[in-house]
Symmetry: C2
Subunit: 241 residues, 2 copies
């Protein structure tokens, strides 16, 4: 990362991080989408992933709290509204709870996060803190895993509907909705990064931010895999199917 990249080369470098490190490569996802998990394991995934969903609007607010450009805040606030829901609308977090309801988890228990793996919560807080503390360009760049999300969401919708009799269309609404939202958000953020990362140092930092975010996602699946698949060592206090 020592030479100055063109905007298109920077985009390619970012996409390369996804090709190498995005969590669609994690074995847990192959199990999840391929119907090779039992209901308890799917429950563990959904209740842990809730922590991430619930953290995202705090992450986006932390980013906005640092933005002096009103137009950038006006763009970014959509993310908060998408997740929390605008007045009178169901948001992404609510749609996630529809999924956890559908697979038989108590809503209060999910929201309490009591059964979530500590490693999940640590990863989510690491993300919130990264966005709060790192330069704004890196904070924006860390959202760019959304570039890679639509394909995993499509695989997930098809795989889970086909393979699990306890999953129906309504439970998949979160992912269907994210297909459009993630595309729009990722396009905006990618354009922002390409326009603002204009030195080798900031370009390298932007790519590193995407790598960091891939680690945040990957670490959550590692923790799930260790606790609920192999060796199946559930930490004290965590959800036991």
């Amino acid at each position: 990362m020592s030479a100055l990249l063109s905007p298109d080369q920077l985009e390619a470098a970012i996409r390369q991080v996804g090709a190498e490190r995005y969590h669609d490569k994690h074995p847990f996802h192959a199990l999840l989408h391929g119907g090779r998990l039992n209901k308890g394991q799917v429950q563990a995934w959904a209740l842990n992933r809730y922590c991430y969903q619930a953290g995202v609007p705090r992450k986006d607010a932390a980013l906005m709290s640092r933005v002096t450009d009103r137009e950038l805040r006006r763009e970014w606030v959509h993310r908060i509204l998408d997740h929390d829901g605008a007045s009178g609308e169901e948001g992404g977090i609510e749609r996630w709870l529809v999924l956890t309801d559908a697979i038989g988890l108590q809503r209060d228990y999910v929201i309490s996060m009591e059964g979530a793996l500590p490693a999940t919560r640590f990863a989510v807080e690491a993300y919130v803190n990264f966005v709060r503390e790192r330069p704004l360009l890196e904070a924006v760049a860390s959202s760019l895993t959304e570039l890679f999300a639509p394909s995993i969401h499509k695989q997930r919708i098809a795989g889970m509907l086909e393979n699990y009799d306890f999953i129906g269309e309504r439970a998949m609404q979160y992912f269907r909705r994210r297909l459009d939202q993630a595309n729009r958000d990722a396009d905006f953020a990618l354009d922002y990064v390409k326009r603002n990362a204009l030195t080798p140092e900031t370009q390298g930092a932007a790519v590193a931010a995407v790598r960091f975010k891939c680690n945040v996602l990957w670490a959550q699946l590692d923790a799930l895999h260790h606790a609920y698949v192999s060796p199946g060592l559930i930490p004290p206090g965590a959800f036991r199917p």
Copy 2:
């Protein structure tokens, strides 16, 4: 502040802070509303106050970044939308710029904040940092100067329209709109503080937060008064009418 207060006593203690310290008591406001400033002094006020307006959405985002209760975030995000403007709508900051346009300030110069007094910017950043760092209850409580805002806005609209021939109805739209918004927001925040400050310590901290916020507002007027009224000592680099 050592005895436990009832919710109504807490409200009374908060309102007492306003009665003693809200910036409607500052001599600069008497001059402003009474038509005793010249156009350059009104310009200085408007361009300095812009810094505060522009900081408020960052303050509100900083607060939201700490809120794990989705319903509270859904309520609080209105403040950001009110100031920045929802899609296709003029927000409070835009309405403030209509005012600065109307009194003959260059918009780019206002937005750059280059001519603002350093003390103004320090006070605004102190507010953003307070909300970012102090307990959430105190962060919410610091917004409660809005309880006292409608009466100053009414005085300001009437006084400025009557006393300055360079101020028209359009320039006052910011204040007209805030009459409703501030009431709604203040009612919500007051209710939150009354429901959540349930120990002598947290009640004392909530009252202190309102006092802090009054200081943030007062310090801005002190700086204006010193620079542009008496002794009229404008710091290097600041706006010179």
